[in-house]
């Protein structure tokens, strides 16, 4: 059933977020460390397990992939609910700091991608 897929997805996210917060708490900070990343690993493991036992029916898969396909519209909704005016009126120093970090990041991505693809041709 479709709900089984969605339930597995939601369970992985809840478990991941809990693990992320526990990881944060164990390091003494009130923040989630990689909760979503842990949830992704759990989902990959979970679907592989179901697949091997032949329990990953198309209906169960749809319960997961539907949400993956809703991803772009959700991002659009997220963009529309950002504090854009706050970012623009936060003073030119905030704009400069944000843009400087972005520019430096892009430069380094280009460098690192080029270096790794040269050393390890895929």
């Amino acid at each position: 059933m479709t709900i089984h897929g969605t339930a597995l997805l939601a369970l992985c996210l809840l478990a991941g977020l809990t693990a992320g917060r526990l990881l944060g708490a164990s390091l003494g900070i009130d923040a989630d460390i990689g909760g979503v990343g842990i949830a992704m690993l759990l989902l990959i493991g979970g679907t592989h397990l179901l697949e091997r036992r032949g329990l990953l029916t198309p209906a169960v898969g749809h319960g997961i992939t539907y949400w993956g396909q809703m991803y772009v519209p959700i991002v659009v909704a997220m963009a529309a609910s950002q504090n854009v005016r706050g970012a623009l009126t936060g003073g030119w120093m905030a704009v400069a700091a944000g843009l400087a970090a972005t520019a430096a990041g892009f430069l380094l991505v280009g460098l690192l991608v080029r270096c790794t693809s040269r050393s390890e041709p895929s």
Binding site: A77, R85, A101, T102
Partner: protein, 249 residues
């Protein structure tokens, strides 16, 4: 009549959001095909429309502050956003994560260093000379969550914390807009490159929107490293980075 329609839309906020976002996607894919011959991805145009609408609405939660569009805030909120990111992991090849693991960690640490450095340098150039303010603004240049978490932990002034949030927001928005245009120059084509990108930029919202508009197949890889960035930043900001800043200033 209009009152009945208004009340129905208001009472079913999430459904209204589905219609509004779906309509936006339809318009943007049409604009993408007709006006740019498909060169600018429809998702990039839709995200841009979303950002402009948020700026016009002007509230701290963008268009979600308008009662009629409050459902957009639920659809684009952390809960459904995280559910959708995790769902994209269904169908990725686990060996790609293993192969990209080491470079992902390097990219994460280097990305955080660069953000703290650039943000801190900007703060210094603007006349801040105390370690607490410089660290907080540097943390804001990492992401808009690392900024306030670090600032609160260090006891920064509310003005500096507000600046750090604004810096993080500017970065998230800049990454959303620039990524699809810079993608080919950066070589953003492989899962490994996406993992480097996610770790380097770190802002989950910026990375996911940027990659979605570039190539949706890369999203889970970028999201995987980006999701560790904020947590690691919150860990290092008030501790290691602050200690380094304190010895310098």
């Amino acid at each position: 009549m209009t009152e009945v329609v208004h009340d129905t839309l208001l009472a079913n906020g999430l459904l209204t959001a589905f219609v509004v976002v779906g309509g936006t996607m339809l318009v943007s894919s049409w604009v993408s095909a007709r006006c740019t011959c498909g060169r600018v991805h429809g998702s990039a145009i839709a995200i841009l429309i979303g950002l402009v609408a948020a700026a016009v609405a002007g509230g701290p939660r963008g268009v979600a502050d308008l009662p009629l569009l409050s459902g957009v805030g639920l659809l684009g909120g952390a809960m459904l956003r995280d559910l959708a990111i995790v769902a994209t992991a269904c169908g990725v090849r686990p060996q790609e994560f293993v192969r990209g693991g080491a470079i992902g960690v390097v990219s994460l640490l280097a990305g955080l260093c660069v953000a703290f450095l650039m943000g801190g340098a900007t703060a210094w150039a603007c006349g801040y000379r105390d370690a607490v303010s410089i660290t907080t603004i540097g943390a804001g240049a990492a992401t808009y969550i690392v900024g306030p978490v670090t600032g609160t932990a260090l006891g920064a002034s509310s003005e500096v914390i507000a600046l750090s949030i604004a810096a993080g927001l500017v970065k998230a928005i800049a990454v959303m807009i620039v990524t699809p245009f810079a993608a080919s120059a950066l070589g953003l084509k492989t899962p490994r490159a996406a993992m480097v990108f996610g770790g380097k930029m770190g802002t989950t919202s910026g990375v996911m929107a940027g990659l979605a508009a570039t190539d949706p197949a890369l999203v889970p890889y970028g999201a995987m490293t980006a999701t560790f960035y904020t947590g690691l930043g919150c860990l290092l900001g008030p501790s290691l980075v602050f200690m380094i800043a304190r010895t310098i200033f």
